[in-house]
């Protein structure tokens, strides 16, 4: 049963990340996940000062607010400052992370505050971190419940607004002509990205999320040039990474997240060689 929960959790994260990651790649913003993983630090520290405790819920709120602020700043510098997106991402997250480091060393040098200790979860512990109903019966792992909700929200968003997302991603000027606000959809998508990344960090840790946001979508991008196919393929690659990654970690008794990311990398390499030698 443990294996089932871990693979299910991995797959939920993988599909959420694959769908959002596909849009991010097409918008040249893949590294936004990595950026958020760093820039949440000041949010955690400030949440700790305000709440005076290290309870997960406060840390999530602090991290979530900073995640949205990050995506907002990235877009702001990109549009108003005319920076390329990569430079804009780089400037934003390093600055916010540095701010967090200063806050920790100056105000909380003696307390144990950092993302690794407080925010980042560990996928290995998903099956034992359960949610209980009022009678004390276990309903299911916390991460599975939260991540199912997140995935549901993403699916709903993409299915309902597929047309708008499609047009604003591929042809911003056409979107303007037909009266679709590129800004509005961009912020909606980025809001969803920061929600997903922060919730996933809390459940499974950072490296898995950052990698699954990029690798499966990148592999699918090599193979197809149709958005729908890309979304399905990247989701499938994500699930395969979670599944084989789990068994790889079982085989070597290693980090589960590390093994899942390794498999995602191998899938990308296979796709690359297939595409390359077909031509």
């Amino acid at each position: 049963m443990d294996a089932f929960w871990i693979i299910l959790t991995g797959s939920l994260v993988a599909v959420s990340c694959a769908i959002l990651g596909s849009f991010l790649i097409l918008r040249k913003m893949s590294m936004v996940g990595d950026a958020i993983s760093h820039s949440v630090l000041p949010g955690i520290v400030i949440a700790f000062f305000i709440a005076g405790s290290m309870q997960s819920i406060w840390m999530l709120v602090g991290a979530g607010i900073l995640g949205i602020l990050t995506t907002f700043l990235i877009e702001f510098f990109h549009q108003k400052g005319r920076l390329q997106t990569d430079a804009s991402i780089g400037v934003t997250f390093t600055w916010l992370f540095a701010l967090g480091v200063i806050l920790v060393t100056y105000y909380a040098g003696n307390a144990h505050i950092d993302q690794d200790c407080i925010l980042h979860g560990e996928i290995a512990y998903v099956p034992i971190d359960l949610i209980y109903d009022s009678n004390g019966n276990a309903i299911g792992p916390k991460a599975v419940i939260i991540l199912s909700f997140v995935l549901g929200l993403i699916l709903l968003f993409v299915v309902l607004f597929y047309k708008e997302l499609f047009i604003t991603t591929f042809d911003a000027s056409f979107a303007k002509v037909v009266g679709i606000s590129t800004n509005k959809w961009h912020y909606a998508l980025m809001g969803l990205v920061s929600l997903t990344t922060v919730a996933s960090f809390e459940s499974v840790g950072a490296i898995l999320v950052v990698a699954l946001l990029i690798a499966p979508a990148a592999a699918a991008y090599l193979i197809t040039n149709q958005l729908k196919v890309m979304l399905l393929l990247s989701s499938a690659f994500g699930i395969l990474s979670a599944f084989f990654g789990y068994w790889l970690s079982y085989l070597v008794d290693g980090s589960i997240a590390g093994a899942m990311v390794t498999v995602a990398g191998i899938i990308f390499a296979i796709c690359y060689f297939i595409v390359r030698f077909k031509k």
Binding site: A108, A111, A124
Partner: protein, 303 residues
């Protein structure tokens, strides 16, 4: 899409068939997170229990990354003993919740709150390195003993005797440390290390403790910290500073070099065990042996 969901179902079904490891005997099986706790469990439980440690020698508990096998260890345990006070980071939170399914004991949290040193005055933020004061650590040992007895009451007397013997060993360790530290000249009783793990040690045995890094092993040290430490070393004419086995020695080397530039020779007094102990099976792999070794290192370097 249909094909895809079919594959999904097969994969998930396959995932369900894991092999479960059978335990060879029906002794209570106790899993402890750190080496210090494991050592207490082994001393109290003797051969009436089986025990296992999650973190091996030289592992920094603040940064520990779980492996696939750790989950199986937790699942097979009849009881899990952890330090608590956030030493294990988020793992402590999860183990506390797991308490609804099987007994989990936060041994260090049995120490009365007024004996804990608050890190910055916030209610949840205490310094978790309690094992470096024997009298505080005895509370944790007693908590472990009570937990083991409640798990297996048939061997109550056996555990009780072991606990008493272990506690008296700890008492003589406590005495020994006090005597040895007193042999350092009073103005030399300053312990400088990379990582702030020795606050309770200093408090209990009358040494001033200065760390470069703060409690969290990832918080960076500032340039001002180094400058202040160098001034302190020169003012007090300190002979040696220390490196810890589970923390990089890079930062402490910066202090040594800084002192040299100002014309004061301070040397590295040796390696101290802080967050982890030595190899299992060696003398330094036990709590008492590790503690004695630390004290010898400190006394020999500062005397």
């Amino acid at each position: 899409m249909k094909k895809l969901s079919f594959i999904l179902i097969v994969l998930v079904a396959l995932a369900g068939c894991t092999n479960k490891q059978e335990r060879s005997n029906d002794k209570p099986h106790i899993v402890a997170t750190t080496g210090m706790l494991f050592d207490a469990v082994v001393n109290i439980g003797g051969d009436k229990i089986t025990a296992e440690a999650i973190m091996g020698p030289g592992v920094d508990p603040h940064l520990y990354k779980a492996t696939q096998g750790d989950l199986a260890k937790f699942n097979q345990a009849d009881m899990i003993i952890y330090n608590g006070i956030l030493l294990e980071g988020k793992m402590s939170e999860i183990l506390k919740k797991l308490g609804k399914q099987k007994p989990t004991v936060a041994a260090a949290e049995s120490i009365p709150k007024e004996m804990l040193k608050s890190a910055i005055g916030y209610k949840d933020a205490y310094d978790p390195h309690v094992w470096f004061d024997v009298s505080r650590w005895k509370y944790a040992v007693k908590a472990i003993s009570e937990a083991i007895i409640s798990l297996d009451s048939t061997n109550q007397q056996f555990y009780y005797d072991n606990t008493r013997r272990y506690l008296s060993q700890l008492d003589s360790l406590d005495q020994y440390v006090k005597v040895r530290i007193k042999s350092i000249p009073e103005n030399q009783r300053i312990l400088i290390t990379a990582h702030d793990a020795f606050t309770y040690f200093g408090d209990a045995y009358g040494m001033r403790v200065e760390g470069l890094q703060g409690i969290s092993t990832v918080a960076d040290f500032g340039l001002k910290d180094i400058a202040e430490l160098i001034d302190l070393i020169i003012q007090n004419n300190i002979k040696a500073i220390f490196v810890e086995t589970s923390v990089s020695e890079k930062s402490i080397n910066a202090v040594v070099t800084g002192c040299k530039e100002k014309g004061h020779n301070v040397r590295i007094g040796g390696y101290l065990y802080s967050d982890a102990m030595g190899e299992f099976g060696t003398d330094e792999g036990t709590y008492i042996g590790m503690f004695r070794k630390n004290v010898e290192t400190i006394v020999n370097a500062l005397k």
